[in-house]
Symmetry: C3
Subunit: 175 residues, 3 copies
């Protein structure tokens, strides 16, 4: 899967004349049911040849944390905050119906039966299709996360200025 | 009310010269307090002469389910999932303050006193004003919903590609 | 801080030729963790020279209510609704992890240690940098709020038509 990272799908050359079509998603939420539309829209946009960027900020950063990494900050508060929000795309919760995790289990099962990709699969697919996955530097600082705590294949961490510069003229969605 | 379906308000002819002004809302949430801004912005956009499209996806699809239809899928999980999220615009919950339904009752009462339209009224009005209400095909598949399970007056179900194509150059909001 | 109110940062004159770059945020949520990205993006946009407008609607209006003002409507329902949502930027809650307020206390402490501005500081900064802070007239009517119940430095209350007119051609985010 990682062999084709950074390659663009064939649709890209179709729109060279006028200004490039762009899609910029601000992925603020880390919940399963919001990560889904984020990554489905991002991969669809990339497949349509749009320059597609997802800025992962605040709660949205957690799915990018390596599974083997527990977020461990410098003090007890960061640790406590981190414990409540385990990183990694396998640990995402639904924003609703979260009683004892039943909602998530059902949703994942439903998705599997109907062949809708899991968040981890969509994350891998997005990188393969050339979606730029950008972690938010300020959030990383706030949580004491280093570059090596995050999964491979991401762009350099960036801030709001970079995000807004990219967003000008793009389809912009805050999810 | 349904006599004027598909007619455009008078404001539309005002902006024929340059590219058509568009508003595209991704209605991902099914909660009362989010359906409200979705439909208020959509009807306002249509009244201003903008080509207005609302894509109802994920939880956002539930308000489009016919009141008499309980979502009944092929297996117990879909049924359970559906029970937790009764379809129909009359059953929407608030995303906050949902203790025993008191928050919703109060909000509806407040809205009534101040003559703010109910979600069902806004949904009807939106269709009358020519807002394109598009159900998400992937969500329908996931929940085992058929076209006839949804209310009248909707566009053909469509996917993310259609939504993003429509969104290019539009005001885009993910609600 | 208040000495430079309404002054634009130096970046503004850089983009006079083509159409002005704009950022329009629909601030629908009143929670601390959503007010943060709203104001960080707004102040960043203003610093980049973009015409930046934030429309505060629904729950988003509460942070604009004066600290000394309790929202007191004409009847018990408005009062009850208001009690549940104390206005003022100092009383914002997190949308998640709100057990006994611990999550908020930790987040504010984390922010302080890492020198991330508080919502009140960001609100002040936004006004100083020329961000247009516009309260939603319909929400004010719904909650029985008058202009003098809101903090100083806001634009005239406006409705969805004004918001959408401003949003055309802008980066648009619904937060």
């Amino acid at each position: 899967m990682s062999a084709t990272v950074l390659e663009r799908p064939e649709a890209a050359p179709e729109a060279p004349s006028e200004q490039a079509e762009k899609l910029v998603i601000f992925a603020w939420s880390g919940e399963l049911d919001r990560i889904w539309p984020t990554l489905i829209l991002a991969t669809t946009g990339a497949a349509m040849g749009k320059e597609t960027t997802v800025f992962f900020t605040f709660w949205g950063l957690f799915p990018l944390v390596k599974d083997e990494v527990r977020i461990t900050g410098e003090n007890w508060m960061q640790k406590m905050l981190s414990t409540m929000n385990r990183g990694g795309a396998d640990h995402l919760k639904l924003s609703k119906m979260n009683f004892a995790g039943a909602g998530k289990a059902m949703m994942m099962h439903l998705a599997k039966e109907h062949r809708v990709a899991t968040p981890q699969e969509l994350l891998d697919l997005a990188r393969e299709m050339g979606v730029r996955l950008v972690p938010c530097q300020m959030t990383m600082d706030l949580l004491g996360l280093k570059r090596e705590d995050l999964i491979e294949g991401l762009e350099e961490p960036a801030g709001a200025t970079t995000a807004l510069a990219e967003a000008q003229g793009a389809i912009t969605l805050f999810i």
